[in-house]
């Protein structure tokens, strides 16, 4: 009996969630990654848009007719889908930014590595790059005598 009462009390919320979280459901279907971060992001964003409607429902008595009224309100749809769309914006925008950052880091590392190589060549000579002997194309004129 309690479960029936609980189910009857949760149905309006379920209704709002079932309809309002459809963008998150779609994202969940297309996210095949192990971490499931994409679907998590869309879900969180989607939920953010539905939260005002859910609170209004719960504050208004959690009735079925109130739930149906909310579902017919275009602003509720706007917020739910809009927030999901914002979630998708985050998903598409942030990785390229991260990639730019990673490329900058990689370039910095390249510079550092090359600088160390240059230092080694200055100290030990070009032969260090060719332990088996300098190829003809790489031979430079003899070093000037050390003063």
């Amino acid at each position: 009996m309690a479960s029936i009462v609980a189910a009857a009390a949760a149905f309006p919320t379920f209704l709002i969630l079932a309809v309002g979280l459809m963008p998150a459901a779609v994202a969940s279907l297309i996210d095949h990654s192990r971490e499931r971060d994409l679907s998590g992001c869309i879900l969180a964003a989607n939920l953010s848009g539905l939260t005002p409607s859910l609170v209004k429902l719960w504050w208004g008595g959690n009735g079925l007719d109130q739930a149906l009224a909310l579902l017919s309100d275009v602003f509720v749809w706007l917020m739910a889908i809009g927030s999901a769309a914002l979630g998708w914006v985050l998903v598409f925008l942030i990785p390229p930014l991260i990639e730019v950052l990673l490329i900058a880091v990689a370039n910095q590392k390249l510079r550092r590595l090359r600088a160390r190589q240059k230092h080694l060549i200055e100290e030990w000579g070009e032969e260090i790059a060719y332990p088996g002997g300098l190829p003809e194309s790489e031979k430079t004129p003899a070093r000037a005598p050390v003063a």
Binding site: E35, T51, G87, I103, L113, E123, P145, V146
Partner: protein, 680 residues
Amino acid sequence: MRAPTARPPRAPSSIFDDISARPLPARYELRLGEPLDDLTTPVAAACRVADRENANLDLYALMGDPDLPPRGEAIERLDGISHANLVNQIAVGRVAGAGDRGLHQAVVYERPRGGPLARPDRVPTLDEDALRVLVIAPLCAALRALHNRGVVHRGVRPDNLYFLDAVDGRVGLGDCIIGVPGQAQPLAYEPIERASAPALGRGIGGPEADLYALGVTVLAFLGGAPPGQGLDDVALLRARLDRGTQGALVGGRRFSPRLDTLVGGLLADQIEARWGLDNLDEWLKGERVAINLFLRAERAEKPFRFDGHDCHTTRTVAEAFNSNQAETLLELRSERLEGWLSGELDEPDLAANIAARRRSMSTSRGLRAYPPDELIARVCIDLDPSGPIRYRGMTVTFDGIGPLLAAAVATGDEALANTLAAMISAGLPIAWIEALPERRKHLVHRVAQYIRLQRYLAHPALGFGIERCLYDLNPGLRCFSPLVAAARSHTPKTLLRALDKGEGKGGDWIDPHVAGFIAAALHPKAEATLAETPQPGRPRSVRAMTGLVLHAVAQKATRAGPLPNLARAMREPLVAIIKGLHGRSRRKGMTTALDDAIARGDLPAMLALLGDRRTRTRDRRAYADAVIQYARLSTAIDRVRRGGRRRRQRAAVIGHRLAARIAYLALGITVAAVTVGYVV
């Protein structure tokens, strides 16, 4: 009756104090323009000497050949000697002569008042009494004084005897310091075991050589003529080999029984039978002294005919074999010699030795071990173990090798020098030592020396080779390098200073003679340092490094003082060695340190810098580490350059995670804000 074995000559006691290199005190002024013919010897010119501190003394000097080794051991052991029957020695030292042939060894003597007893070509006749008083007794006393000091005279002959005092007729024996031992002696005055060697290769020998010469001197005065007069050296030697020395020099002449005994005892060809000073003393006292008839046992009735000669003794066979190597090889393949040795001379052991040598000729292993000329030389040693070494037609005594080599190098006789070098390489001096047990015992240090010389000849690098052998065998000999003036090449110290003054011809500072001279003077320190010092790869650098080692060791040992010019002359090739190091900063640091040491003229410091094995090891290891490090860096660079796809994947993962975190945060903020809004 065997004569005592003489001590071998010692090297100078110290390179700081080589007595034979000391200059003659400045107070003695040699008047080269006032020669004294009656005192001149076959190997030294005599001239008047003025003593600046005592004008009353009547002095003369003998000057030797600067290209021959000095008798360092005689100079050292006779220092300060004074004896009634020796010409009074005043001073010994080096003096400059005319021209640039180096410093001559000179001895200053008090001039004998009565002059010489005889001339080389004119000998007065003396009866037995006069002989005993004027010749035998004084010579016996003089030789005893010398032999007691370990000096063998090797110049006993009539024209080397002097009336020291015109009044009492005291006779004294003359000079023995100038010249190579035996060099001045006519052939008749050389014992048979040394007579076949050339004048410069007769060696010092032992007291038995002096006793023999005394015997021939007695014979000369008895006959009133030099023995063997009228025969050239070849004929005289042949006669002595064929008939024995007594047969050749005395012939059919008879003297009094006492003189016959004396002459027979002193002229014995067999060393063991020859009289010693004790026998002579007994004779002088009038006692009966027997002649050992053992000397007659080794002569065969039936001769061994070879190359047109009749050989009655093994010594004669050895001489004949040495004169005709081709015929000898053919002869050795037969057993004729063995038959003669066993049958005529009763020498079965010797015959067995020869047989073993003959059998070795028929095997390739034997021929590899002993090439034909070496085999013949060893056969000659077997036949005449107390004689000289005979090799490729050349004859030299064991202790004459050094002086003969010096003469060969000084005169540019490359053929002779190479023959002597080949003889040493073949181990023949060692074979000669080992031919008699007595020699094996007393000359063990010479065996070690000749093993070392063989190593030097097998390794003809700077500091080794024939030049090293030359100076090792002739301590006190000047350096024959053409780089510096002869007058400044007698000691390592003067040589270094001459090179520092820029006297090196063409600016060069090392050559095989300089290297061999220094290495021999500073043995074994020089060799030990060379062995410890790492050698660079290129030949020119090896030469420079070896030169630096030798000069540095010499500078330190002789305390020659700073040598900045010499150090500067070495800079270029040494900097080339530094360039062989891999590390730039290490090269720069070493070059700076090298220049500091060069400015100070400090060769040992330069050697310490360049010869430090640890520096090269550290450089090599650091270079190897750097190569590995460079390769690792290359791999890392490659990885970074090729990481685009991975970077994109990583950016996607991180980006989605960040997006999710932002969304969660936004959700939390929204829930909180809405809840608060409704509550408030």
